[in-house]
Symmetry: C2
């Protein structure tokens, strides 16, 4: 929803993305104006269950209080989890107490250690891991992985053999089916493979960091910041950001399926220079723009 | 820069205006996303000397921290004055200390008493007064008045009579000029009247409040919130907002020159209903839209 870096431009909004996990929404980063951008997506605020904040620079979190305030005005009752650096709660809580006094939902701050790779979220279907990044302040990427899905029972076969519902879980888990006459129907005739589990990684803001590569191995979609082009490599190093080429080198080394670039410095009137640079190393690169939807 | 009310829509941004005082800029209210809207105006951030916050609801002040942060990143050194309810500083200061550590300019919070009519700002040319409003929390309007301007000395006459520069102030103040030969040139031949002093009033958020009328008498431009139409009068009363008709009644009673409406409820897909209602009472009414520039 925002692809710019620290300074807003008339073209780019501040960092924020929404990840659709088969109906549940995760928000990743929440720069100022995120709720206005979210509104444009026509998605439902109430589907946002969790917000993940990569680091405590304003362009990644100043939109949180506005989002919370709007959810409150809309009468939300479901809790909202905010996964972030431990310092965030003390910065937001006083504002919530002042501005959102009529709030009817719980905001649960779930601090994580930004310096370690760790599982910080798990539900029946999904896992989220932290990825320590290299930046001027503690910065953390996120690796979101779907758990392997059970195979689907083929409806026609289930009907034909009149498989009782209570046996579905066992068959999904690999069991054969034995008919009342004692005939054994091998599992492979009854099920079809589930889709491959989804995986997404979000790496912003960070200097070039080869330590990420093993964690990113084979993910379907990698978002990696690309604040600068190689022309400004020394500036990237100084500010601990990445160039588009470096993002592509990480994508290639990790053999990801698709690379999404973002967090563009305001100095580039057109991100084509960044995209070309990335594609020279990793052809399946894309330069995100506000409002873009990437299927995964 | 924003004409919506509390809930952002895909059409309207949150409350903020910029007033150009012959080159110096005042910002009035600063809802989330204001710095992004400001960027679109192509005005210069550095010309903003003062920010006036009408009340501490998020849609009028959540953009402040982002604005301060951006001014800091841009290397501002001139102080920024923020005129607001006394509670604001304690809510913003901890965030500034955390997020704007490299700030090189001073943010001067200048609290005012929101319950009284008082002069809160004065420089050589301008005065700003508070206007107590009626709302669910303390809410304050602002009356911005230019001081009467000195007449201009007519250049041709000054050249013709060779008036020495040190005598200009006296002549501007009304003195005649006496030539070296003792001839008295009456003041009225030497000067022409200055333009009328400008005046602007900002009234948001407020219930219908007739007590405002004497303070607003004859102002050139009045911004008055018009959250609702008369159809939703009871809602306006309940939430302590105004209808467009009420705004127009205030404008008419105060004999202002022009009325600007804003702070529209998200329920109106088109503000024409509000504009028509206001014009039925006060024809010189206008429904502000984001990006509009009103000459004054």
């Amino acid at each position: 929803m925002g692809c710019g870096s620290a300074l807003p431009t008339s073209k780019h909004h501040l960092s924020s993305q929404v990840l659709d996990l088969r109906g549940k929404l995760f928000m990743i980063d929440c720069g100022e104006g995120t709720q206005l951008q979210f509104r444009k997506t026509r998605l439902n605020y109430n589907q946002i269950s969790d917000v993940f904040i990569s680091h405590l620079h304003g362009d990644h979190c100043f939109g949180l209080i506005g989002l919370i305030s709007t959810l409150s005005l809309l009468g939300r009752t479901a809790p909202l989890r905010i996964h972030a650096h431990p310092d965030l709660e003390a910065l937001i809580r006083p504002q919530m107490d002042y501005f959102c006094r009529e709030n009817k939902f719980e905001v649960q701050f779930q601090p994580f250690n930004p310096r370690e790779y760790a599982l910080i979220y798990e539900d029946r279907n999904w896992e989220v891991y932290t990825l320590p990044l290299i930046h001027r302040v503690c910065s953390t990427g996120f690796l979101i992985k779907e758990k392997p899905r059970m195979p689907h029972i083929i409806k026609d076969k289930a009907d034909f053999y009149q498989i009782p519902l209570p046996q579905y879980p066992a068959i999904k888990a690999g069991a054969d089916f034995v008919t009342p006459d004692g005939e054994v129907i091998p599992n492979r005739f009854l099920v079809r493979e589930a889709e491959a589990p989804k995986s997404y990684a979000y790496c912003s803001d960070t200097a070039y960091n080869e330590k990420l590569i093993p964690y990113l191995q084979g993910v379907q979609m990698l978002y990696h910041e690309a604040t600068f082009s190689q022309e400004h490599l020394s500036l990237a190093e100084y500010t601990q950001h990445s160039t588009a080429l470096q993002a592509a080198q990480i994508a290639k080394a990790a053999a990801v399926e698709k690379l999404i670039l973002g967090h563009y410095s305001a100095r580039y009137p057109d991100e084509k220079v960044l995209l070309d640079e990335a594609r020279s190393v990793f052809p399946s690169s894309f330069a995100a723009q506000e409002g873009d939807v990437y299927e995964w």
